[in-house]
């Protein structure tokens, strides 16, 4: 299940409004709104395609300047770099 960390850039004065709208969407968790108009959020979708659609949707949203992907996880199995240690 893809999980991504995103940074949504907005004009500072519109940030809180956008954040509220974002939080209303299913699969989006808003983690914080920064003073310079950046919203930190985590999105979750069933497939990568669905996730891409979600991000595209956000980009079309009023007040949103850009959406930047900061972290992307698309694996469910062993975490990156994980290995049994010590033997």
């Amino acid at each position: 299940m893809p999980i991504s960390g995103i940074v949504v850039s907005c004009r500072p004065e519109e940030a809180s409004g956008v954040a509220e709208k974002l939080a209303g969407n299913q699969g989006i968790e808003v983690h914080g709104v920064l003073a310079d108009g950046k919203i930190v959020a985590v999105i979750e979708a069933d497939t990568i395609d669905a996730e891409v659609d979600l991000v595209k949707g956000l980009q079309q949203m009023e007040g949103v300047i850009s959406v930047q992907l900061a972290y992307h996880n698309f694996e469910d199995a062993a975490p990156e770099g994980a290995h049994p240690a010590g033997f």
Binding site: L69, A70, Y71, H72, E80, G81
Partner: protein
């Protein structure tokens, strides 16, 4: 001259007994032998032969299994198969000890029968096999980690294996340095397979690829 020897000729009874038992024994021996020898094994798949080995089928015939190539190898990289039709023939278990491509190819020089082609004199022209990255998802370098051990250990670094850098979209600010094998240069020595740090090497030597195809895609 005494005549009372009983083993001077073959008695009828003995002959019959022998005639009945012998095929039985032979059949038993064959069955036993076959179970040991003709097990489907390495001989049926790709076997990494020493440098200069002629085509697989002819090699099996031409090799007299004398082991001189193995004795000539300074790294003890050449071992002898101990089962199936390839019994006694030399091979290289690259994961244990790869071929380090001695410039004077002592193994080829040692071969009496031409199973290792005596015309092989340049290590760069050796074609034991071709390295392949068999598990792209598993390869640490392709996952963006700075590993590339196979590349740096390759005796034909920057020729047989090169690094192809590309942007790592997952972190957004690092480079994926992907090792790419070039079939026209790879001699198949197995040093990469030996060096791979993963429990199951993701780069292994397979049959020599004569035709160059590009399976390398982003």
């Amino acid at each position: 001259m005494p005549k009372e020897r009983d083993d001077s000729g073959i008695s009828r009874r003995r002959f019959l007994k022998g005639g009945a038992l012998a095929p039985l024994a032979l059949a038993l021996a064959t069955a036993g032998g076959a179970s040991v020898y003709l097990r489907p094994g390495e001989a049926h798949g790709f076997v990494l032969r020493p440098p200069g080995a002629i085509a697989a089928r002819r090699f099996l015939a031409a090799c007299v299994r004398c082991g001189k190539c193995a004795q000539a190898c300074p790294y003890h990289a050449i071992r002898l198969q101990d089962r199936s039709v390839g019994i006694g023939t030399p091979y290289i278990a690259a994961r244990q000890i790869p071929c380090y491509l001695c410039p004077d190819l002592p193994c080829v020089k040692a071969c009496p029968s031409g199973a290792l082609d005596p015309k092989t004199t340049e290590v760069e022209k050796v074609r034991m096999g071709t390295a392949q990255i068999v598990d792209r998802e598993g390869c640490l370098s392709i996952r963006g980690l700075r590993c590339e051990v196979c590349y740096r250990q390759c005796p034909l670094i920057d020729q047989a294996i090169t690094l192809e850098p590309r942007h790592n979209p997952r972190t957004g600010e690092h480079t994926i340095m992907e090792p790419v094998v070039h079939r026209e240069k790879c001699v198949g020595c197995g040093v990469c397979e030996n060096a791979c740090v993963l429990p199951k090497p993701v780069i292994v030597v397979r049959e020599t690829v004569e035709v160059q195809r590009d399976s390398y895609d982003f």
